[in-house]
């Protein structure tokens, strides 16, 4: 797979920009079929290098080929492989060539083409896809250089623009607030009252940041009407502990983060109860998240010194504000990346072994 001067760069792909979830699912490659897909690609006449990026939100094939290889050939191969109508492929995929591929890849790597603008997970997925293709020896001078440069561009974008500033996922917003209160989120002792979906999402975020001391309690250890999940199941899922609800108020001072997510119609934590708990930990802050509607924590509890009470409206407002702030940075980032992409493309063209 040695590139020659007349090779050309192309991209065939689909993402949330052009296809809905069902359509993306029909195009996405099952993980156990990647090997056979690569083998089939290799047999396409004129293809010199290729790389497949296959994530839950996008499926993309990057390639360097001789001029005689038409992108329709790759599209037809994918359609045939996934048993799809070629017309459907035309409608639900995008095709790029030359400098447009470089620009697109830079945008994907930096996260501005992601559904959640500025997310960083895509860079890891891109690196994994690149490592995978390299190990199979499907990448060469063209794609090696292109992807290495895209990783640099992504790093540059995150450092020099505000596209990743502020958390936009509710669980991550809660973790960010916990970081601003306690510093090390992993050291926080987390108590969840109830087993609602918000609680589960928040616990996933805390767990991913190293939280070990997770405790779950509930008014009953029966099904939670919000999530159809039992509190002890939630505790089990996150390797946590369960606490008898009768001990909630006496144990409140032992926790740093308390998340209430129940369907209770009355307040489970009153101002008085929080005040009593804080007397046992006066100089240590307490972060209380009320993810219930109607609310489970009396608003007056926020007046107790060192108590930081947030409800879901507050958290959503922060997430939305952060997202707006990111979106405002996207255009600036896109313009800068476009210039970098063009520069790289000109450098690549100047070298005889790279695409025309």
């Amino acid at each position: 797979m040695t590139p020659s001067p007349d090779s050309s760069l192309f991209l065939l792909g689909t993402s949330h920009q052009v296809a809905n979830l069902n359509e993306r699912e029909s195009i996405a490659l099952p993980s156990d079929s990647i090997d056979s897909f690569y083998r089939g690609l290799q047999e396409l006449d004129g293809l010199k290098e290729c790389l497949v990026l296959n994530t839950c939100n996008r499926t993309e094939i990057y390639g360097a080929a001789e001029d005689n290889l038409k992108i329709e050939v790759v599209s037809n191969y994918l359609a045939e492989f996934r048993d799809l109508d070629p017309e459907f492929m035309i409608q639900k995929t995008y095709r790029r060539a030359g400098p447009e591929v470089v620009r697109h890849l830079f945008e994907v790597a930096s996260g501005i083409d992601s559904q959640m603008v500025g997310e960083t997970e895509i860079l890891g997925q891109l690196k994994k896809a690149y490592d995978d293709a390299s190990e199979r020896a499907f990448t060469g001078k063209v794609l090696n250089r292109l992807f290495q440069k895209s990783f640099q561009a992504a790093k540059w974008a995150r450092t020099n623009t505000g596209i990743s500033r502020g958390q936009v996922n509710l669980g991550n917003v809660l973790c960010e607030l916990a970081r601003r209160i306690f510093g090390q989120v992993g050291q926080c002792r987390v108590l969840v009252v109830g087993a609602g979906e918000v609680a589960e999402g928040a616990l996933e975020a805390f767990k991913s940041r190293g939280s070990e001391a997770i405790t779950v309690t509930g008014r009953t250890f029966d099904w939670c009407p919000l999530s159809r999940r039992k509190p002890d199941e939630l505790a089990q899922k996150f390797d946590g502990f369960t606490l008898a609800y009768s001990k909630l108020h006496d144990s409140l001072h032992l926790f740093d983060v308390v998340l209430a997510s129940t369907a209770s119609a009355k307040a489970l934590l009153t101002h008085k109860q929080v005040e009593v708990a804080m007397k046992k930990r006066p100089s240590k802050p307490l972060f209380v998240i009320d993810a219930s509607v109607p609310r489970n924590v009396e608003e007056a509890a926020s007046t107790v010194e060192n108590v930081y009470l947030y409800n879901m409206d507050d958290v959503s407002a922060i997430a939305n504000e952060n997202l707006q702030s990111r979106l405002a940075e996207v255009e600036r980032c896109r313009t800068a990346l476009s210039k970098r992409a063009l520069r790289l493309w000109e450098q690549m063209r100047a070298q005889p072994s790279l695409p025309s």
């Binding site: 020099n160 601003r180 306690f182 100089s283 060192n306 504000e321």
Partner: protein
């Protein structure tokens, strides 16, 4: 630019702190190009060296630790503040703390340099030999002023604590909130700074008491009352914090209030003999001496 002129050096240092403060604040919202990221910190270091050289030159001029007038005492406190920040930064990577320290240095430094009367040339008085005749009292003064530097840093940390707390209570992302250190760490840092500051102030009081018992005639009642009140004030604050009777925002507000009182009382901590000598100088109405 004369690098041998004390006032010029201090102005340049203040300018460096000012630029560092502005860049530090801008940096919280906009990323700097690679290579310029450390600009605010480098400016603080440059300002610190210039300030050190200025105080060194003044020290040679007055034959002792330069603590003879309002300008010198303020600059020495600010020098201690920056020194404490630089030491703290070795173990605690807090760029925004540096920005806040630079802001405090800009404000107080400009004030001390702007008030011409604060830099009365007491060393030019007839018969002046040196600022401190007794090395113990020089140690007392320098320890006390260094502890003021630590209390200044404590006040800066408390301002950061209150800013972070206010942002968290407002339940909005806020301008500075995401870039400020965690509230619990700020509280711990404030407690430690208070403990270290009280230790230095206590050492200074011990040395000062030794001098006072031997030469009570040099220590005015006002100085005795003010320094003792401040020392007791900080001791009480430390005791209340240790016993968890005062914490959180009220503790932060008290540290700021006590430091403001300490700053305002600087002009009262002078001694009798030098005050009398100083009154002989018609052009230096505010020069204060620490004999």
């Amino acid at each position: 630019m004369n690098l041998n002129d004390v006032t010029s050096l201090l102005w340049i240092a203040t300018f460096c702190f000012g630029i560092s403060f502005v860049l530090g604040m801008v940096k919280t919202r906009h990323s700097f190009p690679y290579g310029l990221q450390e600009c605010p910190f480098i400016l603080i270091v440059i300002g610190f060296f210039l300030q050190t050289r200025a105080l060194y030159l003044r020290g040679i001029e007055v034959h002792g630790c330069p603590l003879g007038n309002g300008l010198e005492r303020t600059q020495f406190i600010l020098w201690s503040l920056i020194l404490a920040f630089l030491l703290l930064r070795l173990v605690w990577q807090l760029n925004l703390l540096g920005t806040f320290c630079a802001g405090a240095s800009l404000l107080l430094g400009s004030l001390s340099l702007g008030l011409k009367d604060w830099d009365a040339p007491y060393w030019k008085a007839e018969g002046y030999t040196r600022l401190f005749q007794d090395p113990w009292i020089e140690l007392h003064a320098s320890l006390a002023i260094f502890s003021y530097g630590l209390f200044c840093l404590l006040a800066v940390v408390s301002i950061m604590y209150l800013s972070q707390r206010q942002t968290l209570l407002s339940r909005k992302p806020g301008f500075l909130g995401p870039f400020l250190p965690p509230i619990q760490e700020l509280e711990v840092a404030a407690f430690r700074l208070l403990a270290v500051g009280v230790t230095f102030l206590s050492l200074s009081m011990v040395v000062g008491t030794m001098h006072w018992t031997r030469h009570p005639e040099f220590v005015s009642q006002t100085k005795l009352a003010v320094t003792s009140a401040l020392w007791i004030g900080y001791l009480v604050l430390l005791g209340m914090r240790m016993s968890n009777r005062l914490y959180g925002s009220r503790f932060a507000k008290w540290t700021i209030a006590l430091f403001a009182i300490a700053l305002l009382s600087l002009s009262l901590v002078s001694s009798k003999q030098k005050k009398q000598a100083f009154h002989a100088l018609p052009l230096q109405p505010l020069a204060l001496n620490l004999r």
